[in-house]
Symmetry: C2
Subunit: 295 residues, 2 copies
């Protein structure tokens, strides 16, 4: 979609700054998607100026109403409390005051967030975990692995460092010395099997390919270790799995749930669910946070 809309029902813009594209959505007051627009990410962009300009272009393509609240989700280490983009390998920035820069350029209220936490907000409010009580976790498994932990509906920030489960070093077995996401991400899973996507690995495994079955099992085992550490710490009632890995649906959720349950003897096992918002989660969540900030 590429729409310049002046819709009476339009309530907020959400923009997700990704490694390759800046994705924007226009949400109505009932949370439904009115329009979407995307542009390539200027990268690297150490000062953040290119990203700020691209975000403004995406907003302008989505709506002529310059007063709509805008939520912006950023990758890397983001500290929502201070409004700082602390660090991003891909974009090459360190300690950029993005909230201030975005507010100045956009001329309206901006809600700054982290892409994974924004995605968690979308899945918890209007996605797979909508209406669920208790702590909710959102774990996108794509080019990397990370987690958002939502407590009473609010994402845990911890200075921007919460949820980095993909960075955990594996200390035992075959993958010793690698980080969790170097084995269990969708990208690493596809690479190990020599195919283009994790979904292809799952399909080949279902058709009986021994190599794909082994790769798929390795990913599930390593991912279950990470989810088990998260589960004993914050005891989520639901873990929503997103990213490319979740496209395998039940072929992921069922064995992953079994491995997780085995690691939590006598404890309450979180329910696992595939994500509902797909790759729009962070933009939708950013828009919801924009709405809430104004409310």
């Amino acid at each position: 979609m590429n729409a310049a809309t002046m819709s009476a029902g339009a309530q907020a813009v959400g923009i997700d700054v990704g490694g390759t594209s800046v994705k924007g959505v226009l949400l109505s007051s009932d949370g439904s998607l009115l329009a979407a627009h995307r542009l390539p990410t200027p990268s690297p962009d150490p000062t953040g100026e290119g990203v700020v300009e691209t975000v403004a272009q995406v907003r302008d393509a989505l709506t002529q109403d310059r007063q709509l609240p805008v939520g912006v989700a950023l990758p890397g280490v983001v500290d929502e409390d201070s409004g700082m983009a602390v660090y991003s390998v891909n974009l090459g920035w360190r300690d950029v005051p993005m909230l201030e820069e975005l507010t100045k350029r956009l001329g309206t209220e901006v809600a700054l967030s982290h892409d994974v936490r924004a995605g968690g907000v979308a899945e918890a409010r209007t996605g797979a975990a909508a209406g669920r009580a208790g702590v909710v976790a959102f774990v996108p498994v794509g080019t990397g692995v990370a987690a958002a932990v939502l407590i009473d509906g609010k994402p845990l920030v911890a200075g921007g460092y919460a949820g980095e489960i993909g960075q955990l070093l594996i200390t035992h077995g075959e993958f010793q010395g690698q980080r969790l996401e170097e084995v269990a991400s969708a990208r690493a899973t596809a690479l190990r099997a020599g195919v283009a996507s994790a979904r292809e690995v799952a399909s080949a495994a279902a058709r009986g390919s021994a190599v794909s079955q082994q790769v798929w099992n390795e990913t599930i085992t390593v991912l279950a270790d990470g989810l088990a550490g998260l589960s004993v710490t914050v005891a989520p009632t639901v873990i929503v799995i997103g990213g490319g890995l979740a496209l395998a649906g039940r072929q992921l959720i069922v064995p992953l749930g079994e491995e997780l349950e085995r690691r939590l003897p006598g404890l309450r096992t979180p329910e696992l669910m595939p994500a509902a918002h797909g790759d729009a989660a962070a933009a939708v969540g950013a828009a919801l946070l924009g709405l809430e900030q104004r409310a």
Copy 2:
């Protein structure tokens, strides 16, 4: 101490219901300890009546002021939000409405809490982590291993299931199939070395005992795995280690910190500190929660 005090400065009573004794403290307005009293725990006590009566006796021994707020910390699974003692193996109870029963018997405001979370409150407010910003974790390593996670000073409850890191199944290596606390608790450490306490294991290891060195290293390695999973999830700035294991001081903290840092490549490593309140932590924290509830 065994004191019946009517002190003008007395502000709150804190009572920790442990597996073997019910420990009470009387705190002044500045958080200092005015008196302590303990009685044996009636156990098992499936209805909770024996515990309620013992708590009342401890309170009465500490103060004649029946209007002082009382904080009570319980073991097992406790849901502070509903006021229920959900489950305890040692006491044999399941779904006992302890907040209601204690309030009726004591005739004053009662703040119900969980022993580990109450200990975390004590260490975060007036103990090892006093004045520290960010998420704080408290990990008592005694007969078992558990964690309290304090976010903006408030313990995460999650229906009573948060922080059960000691229950995590070990899936690799020599201790495969055991739970974390079956290897890394102070009790398991002493048992494996064939001595009476974890502190003795540390002393023997320092004197060059090969068996004790191996046992000590095993405990540190397994505990570091648990702390790493907690750290990537909630990113604490400080982890306070309590229980019998922490009595080893630097002999625990230094190698445990190294093992933890190794597991968190490129991430912010939490600072490790030994606990300040010793085995009074839960009672002190319960009293602080009693004070805050009234405030």
